[in-house]
């Protein structure tokens, strides 16, 4: 789960990291009031995507009036596909230098990694490898002060800045661990009047660890439908085609979408009913995606944890409830397959055992319509 910049900065600040003075503003009036207190400010759109600066999501304002205008312009606009509903109004920093510092997990080395550069800022992804320090962290050893010192020295820092960097890096790693983060990132880590300050802040929390962080408010990202299906415990992503897809397991769902595309169809969504979903949530999910008005539905189940009979029951339940629907093409094999086919037969529903046959059938069904 991504946190908005202002929430990440709240957490940074609470744990002792220096951040600019600023206020979350929901209206131009709020922003003008904030600017009155702060003087020249930066008005920053709060969206859950990067590249905001280049997309016009950050404006500077010298006066409260300018801050209000900038805020009015940002609120309600859309940046990188995200509607802007809130802005952060912050004191404008007189930045003398920009560093980069982040912690994340190196999935291939299976451990945390520190990343740092003396060339932070908007072009960090184009920084040459030799300007990027990458330090793997052994979880048994943790990220120690000598590691922070080494990192700071590699960035070429000295004196007071080096000291500040060491303590800041230790706190940032502490935040990374304490909040079960997938990523913490400060870019730029700005040098202002000879001191370091987190000019931007990014903090992504591991969804699977959210249950042990009740203090963190869950940010609902995505459409109402996405939220509704996620609340059923299933993984859902909306796409722009017309064939709704439901499969079990991320891999087979992806493969179904791939196949569909190659067979000339266009998927309306990615819906992974995942491991061991029972009839109840699957029926609900099916119901919800039928509400979106797809031209057809493709259900592709290879039963492992998911039992074919439960899928059959889910389908029957929805059909019973909704009566006539758009074509629902079912591909079903695996655990309790025989029981499922017996049930389906009772209700006169046909199913395919092969994936290409099912995909071809759904594509042809949409083309027929």
């Amino acid at each position: 789960m991504k946190l908005y910049e202002y929430l990440a900065k709240e957490i940074f600040s609470k744990n002792g990291l220096p951040v600019p003075k600023g206020y979350l503003c929901l209206s131009p009036e709020d922003a003008a009031r904030a600017a009155l207190e702060l003087g020249p400010v930066a008005v920053k759109a709060q969206i859950l995507a990067g590249g905001r600066g280049k997309a016009g999501g950050i404006t500077f304002a010298a006066t409260p009036e300018e801050a209000g205008i900038a805020t009015a312009r940002l609120l309600g606009s859309e940046i990188r596909g995200y509607p802007v509903t809130r802005v952060l109004v912050e004191e404008k920093l007189n930045i003398q230098g920009e560093l980069y510092l982040g912690f994340t997990v190196d999935t291939s080395d299976r451990r945390p990694v520190a990343l740092a550069s003396c060339q932070g800022g908007v072009n960090i992804e184009e920084v040459p490898p030799e300007k990027l320090v990458r330090l793997l962290i052994d979880p048994l050893f943790g990220f120690s002060s000598y590691s922070a010192l080494y990192l700071g020295l590699r960035l070429g820092l000295k004196g007071e800045l080096l000291k500040e960097f060491v303590s800041l890096a230790l706190i940032l790693y502490w935040i990374f661990m304490k909040y079960d983060a997938e990523l913490v990132e400060i870019n730029p880590l700005a040098i202002v009047e000879g001191h370091l300050i987190a000019a931007d802040a990014r903090l992504n929390i591991d969804d699977d660890a959210l249950y042990r962080h009740p203090e963190i408010e869950v940010i609902e990202d995505g459409s109402e439908l996405e939220k509704a299906i996620k609340n059923l415990g299933l993984a859902y992503v909306q796409l722009d085609g017309n064939i709704a897809v439901l499969a079990n397991g991320a891999g087979i769902t992806m493969a179904t979408l791939d196949t569909l595309e190659k067979f000339g169809g266009r998927a309306a969504n990615f819906l992974d009913a995942g491991g061991g979903a029972g009839a109840e949530p699957m029926a609900k999910a099916l119901d919800l995606i039928l509400d979106t008005g797809p031209r057809a539905v493709l259900i592709n189940i290879f039963g492992g944890i998911t039992r074919c009979d439960e899928v059959a029951r889910a389908l029957i339940q929805v059909k019973e409830k909704r009566g006539q629907t758009v074509p629902i093409i079912l591909r079903l094999v695996g655990t309790n397959e025989d029981e499922a086919y017996r049930l389906l037969k009772t209700y006169g529903i046909e199913a395919f055992k092969g994936m290409p046959e099912a995909v071809a059938a759904v594509v042809s069904a949409t083309q027929k319509l």
């Binding site: 994340t104 990132e185 891999g251 491991g275």
Partner: protein, 289 residues
């Protein structure tokens, strides 16, 4: 011979009294797996499916010396359950549970390494040596003994592939699910090494997907170590839109790898045959054997 497990393997089930644990223990017993004990704290002394249940792994180890543990415990307790098996000296731990916090997995893997324990998963469908031993949640019906090793990230996709192979008379030596999480224990490269050394395995299927760099690393291994057994790969995700990347750090680490294109390129360059559709894998293997 087979990889990691065989008909002698004695299996402990953690979470045997839960609904998933119970269901799949019954399936494993039906498959012939030697399930020797179960563990559920607070239920020690009970019997489930004629299997004795213990309160702690240590007691079960003292009485039954299991070779492997399967974890069917909810995410919030899966870490401690797995660590308990690692500490108690069980050398193979298969974590079926999904949604383990990332930091739990990382810490578990580090601890397992200090004890020389192999972790499969988390979020894996398990491991099976057809007709000999199954530790996991895969359907009992689709596998046949034979010469093809399968290593897969995704369960259902691997069932698809295994079923396709069995359908044309090509059985499997061992099928390993490495788990769908971003961080997992046993990885593609390690499985390839195991298959390379296994005399029963004559060809290998890799079932991958976009995200991470495991497939690219496998390709590098195949290329550098000159793996002589033929490898066929299927990678899911060709139609996926470019993912919402995890900040700069993700980009910095992956450096352009992790995409469908990069995986296919790496595998092809390593001499791996890449299938366009999952159901084509079996045919490609037949051509190569």
């Amino acid at each position: 011979m087979s990889v990691l497990i065989n008909e002698e393997t004695k299996v402990l089930i953690q979470g045997i009294t839960g609904s998933q644990g119970f269901f799949h223990t019954r399936q494993m017993l039906a498959y012939g797996t030697r399930v020797v004990a179960g563990v559920t704290p607070g239920k020690g002394g009970e019997q489930v499916l004629n299997i004795p249940v213990y309160n702690t792994v240590r007691e079960a180890v003292e009485k039954h010396e299991p070779d492997a543990a399967a974890i069917f415990v909810p995410a919030a307790k899966a870490y401690e359950a797995a660590v308990e098996s690692v500490e108690a000296g069980i050398k193979l731990v298969v974590i079926i549970s999904e949604h383990l916090p990332l930091q739990d997995t990382i810490k578990l893997l580090v601890l397992a390494k200090t004890r020389g324990v192999t972790i499969i998963g988390p979020n894996t469908f398990g491991i099976i040596v057809p007709s000999k031993c199954k530790i996991g949640i895969m359907p009992n019906t689709i596998y046949r003994p034979g010469p093809v090793g399968i290593v897969a990230r995704s369960g259902t996709l691997s069932y698809e592939v295994a079923s396709g192979l069995s359908g044309i008379g090509l059985g499997q030596s061992t099928v390993i699910g490495i788990g769908g999480d971003r961080v997992v224990g046993l990885n593609f490269v390690e499985c390839l090494e195991l298959f390379a050394r296994d005399p029963l395995t004559e060809a290998i299927v890799m079932v991958g997907e976009i995200g991470g760099t495991a497939e690219e690393e496998a390709a590098t291994y195949i290329k550098n170590k000159k793996l002589i057994k033929p490898v066929v790969a299927y990678v899911a995700g060709s139609s996926a839109p470019p993912g919402k990347r995890m900040g700069h750090a993700g980009a910095i680490i992956e450096r352009g790898r992790g995409t469908y294109q990069s995986k296919i390129r790496a595998l092809t360059e390593a001499g791996v045959k890449v299938a366009t559709y999952p159901w084509e894998v079996a045919g490609l293997i037949r051509q190569l054997l």
